[in-house]
């Protein structure tokens, strides 16, 4: 610092350059009270990943200044973390509600970047007798979320001596996701099941727990390819109608399963993260039934 000032002083004839801005000591902490807006802030706040670094920049000569000495400025540039706690393992999930059934389906591919890690990994989890969840996104978070919900359901059963209903599970999932609002579960979920009257219900979520009861939904990497097809083919009443009508599809169970298969084949064509196999779980009055269908493996 002294040397820099010295340079300015030694070139005495010229107008003094303003002292360099040496902002802070080498260890930089975020000011207290600053809520981390993103996980990147969390990373940088952690003691294990260094935040700040100095850069001494030689500024180009300012046109107004007659000084020929370079002005040295120190600026803080925040070093971004190279390690991310998240990864996207891809995959698509779909759920369709019918008058007396519910279909939940997901592909079985797990990827990272441009690699396929495994072709045979289930994204579907049975949370209760009448609630089945399919989740895509970051697999470790998905598994942790499934474990968490299964544990909570177990406690519920001990306390209430009955299974959780699908709407109850839906609320629990939303709360669980929002609990980690500032370090989210990177999981994109659809919850499907039968409500207390035996009618199909589907709930769709974002990563932080915002949810809605719908007649059908798609999440995951292929969702943008799948959703428009479902919008047209399911013949469900429009969600924009007033008075609001329940959006369950009038299609039969067999037709819905067939549509699910078609939709996955379509998504597999264009989405690199969808493929290998689709696992289809059907809930109806007879119980839960699971089937698989092969998809393209490329």
């Amino acid at each position: 610092m002294e040397m820099v000032l010295g340079i300015g002083m030694r070139t005495g004839k010229y107008s003094p350059t303003p002292p360099p801005v040496v902002a802070m000591p080498s260890q930089c902490y975020l000011p207290t009270g600053l809520d981390p807006k993103t996980s990147r802030d969390l990373i940088n706040k952690s003691s294990n990943f260094r935040v700040a670094s100095f850069h001494a920049l030689v500024q180009p000569k300012a046109p107004s200044s007659s000084s020929s000495s370079p002005a040295l400025h120190f600026t803080m540039t925040k070093q971004q973390a190279n390690w991310s706690p998240y990864d996207n393992n891809g995959g698509s999930c779909v759920a369709i509600a019918g008058a007396d059934y519910c279909v939940v389906a997901a592909d079985t591919r797990m990827s990272t970047g441009y690699n396929i890690l495994t072709r045979d990994y289930s994204k579907i989890c049975k949370l209760a007798d009448k609630s089945v969840m399919a989740s895509s996104g970051f697999q470790a978070d998905v598994r942790a979320l499934q474990k968490q919900l299964a544990a909570r359901h177990s406690i519920y059963q001990h306390q209430h001596n009955k299974q959780m209903s699908c709407p109850a599970m839906a609320q629990l999932l939303s709360n669980t996701l929002y609990y980690k609002r500032f370090f989210p579960y990177y999981a994109f979920n659809v919850l499907g099941g039968l409500d207390n009257e035996g009618k199909g219900c589907v709930f769709t979520y974002d990563a932080v727990g915002s949810y809605e009861k719908v007649g059908y939904s798609a999440q995951g990497s292929g969702s943008t390819l799948i959703m428009p097809v479902l919008d047209r083919q399911l013949k469900s009443p429009s969600p924009l109608l007033l008075p609001a009508q329940d959006a369950v599809t009038p299609l039969s169970e067999a037709e819905a399963i067939d549509l699910v298969k078609t939709v996955f084949v379509a998504a597999t064509e264009r989405d690199i993260y969808t493929g290998d196999k689709v696992e289809i779980v059907v809930l109806n009055a007879d119980g839960i039934h699971r089937e698989y269908m092969d998809l393209r493996k490329d």
């Binding site: 990943f49 190279n82 706690p85 998240y86 690699n115 890690l117 990994y121 697999q139 470790a140 598994r143």
Partner: protein
């Protein structure tokens, strides 16, 4: 037993074990930061110790150990202080074979063949093509050697020395390969020691054949480790004799 651990681009340590038996039924291999692997082994020591102290005839199998490792890795990731390893866990218990992997952020899965690092790019395709149920031990070794040879040719930091770890129980076995000293790519925050390699495990179903039951007898505790050996390589391609003949001035 003698594996090398690199430090950046230096071959720093000459005798580092990168695969360890865990309990009675499993083998754990790791790539990445060696010190973190050693800490994991201490956690596992404690786990197995407490398991043994129950003294109830039960023992932690590969599935249980894999689950434990997944939890440890995931929870460290949640605290933004990961154990910088990719782990491979294989084993056989009660005739059930198991093979799984966990990465440093907690991504985990189970499959018939797994690989770390470069192995995902170069070896998994070969394994996908050639693996099938009812592989014999010799065939299994052949496939893995094929993978290792490709990696030796195509990874600039590979070294021609490998070792086979074999865990046998009754009819099933798990085979681990460990190659020596392959450098990892980008590193963050300067590791003290880089222990990187491709740890391959394949899970063939072994049919009773006399040579193998011989091995099974010897390895009552379940784990056998071969002596380190080298693969045969061929470099005598005519194109290598005068490589710049087609493009003067290149190298």
């Amino acid at each position: 037993m003698m594996e090398t651990g690199s430090y950046g681009s230096t071959l720093r340590y000459k005798s580092v074990e990168r695969i360890k038996p865990v309990g009675k039924h499993s083998l754990l291999g790791a790539s990445g930061e060696l010190s973190d692997f050693q800490e994991l082994l201490r956690y596992l020591d404690e786990l197995i110790l407490y398991d043994n102290m129950w003294d109830d005839g039960n023992s932690m199998g590969p599935k249980e150990v894999h689950n434990y490792l997944t939890r440890v890795m995931y929870n460290r990731r949640n605290k933004f202080n990961p154990l910088w390893n990719t782990l491979v866990l294989g084993g056989v218990k009660n005739g059930q074979k198991y093979l799984g992997t966990v990465t440093m952020i907690g991504v985990h899965f189970e499959d018939n063949h797994v690989a770390t690092g470069f192995g995902n790019h170069l070896a998994r395709p070969i394994l996908r093509e050639e693996w099938h149920e009812n592989l014999s031990f010799e065939d299994g070794v052949k496939i893995l050697e094929k993978c290792m040879r490709v990696l030796l040719y195509r990874d600039r930091s590979a070294v021609n020395k490998l070792q086979v770890w074999l865990s046998i129980h009754t009819l099933h076995f798990v085979l681990l390969f460990q190659a020596i000293d392959n450098l990892r790519g980008d590193r963050l925050y300067g590791s003290k020691l880089d222990v990187t390699d491709y740890v391959f495990i394949i899970l063939p179903l072994l049919r009773l054949d006399p040579t193998l039951s011989q091995i099974a007898k010897i390895t009552e505790e379940g784990v056998t480790i071969s002596q380190p050996y080298s693969l045969k390589t061929f470099w005598g391609f005519s194109a290598f004799q005068n490589p710049t003949v087609g493009a003067e001035g290149s190298w």
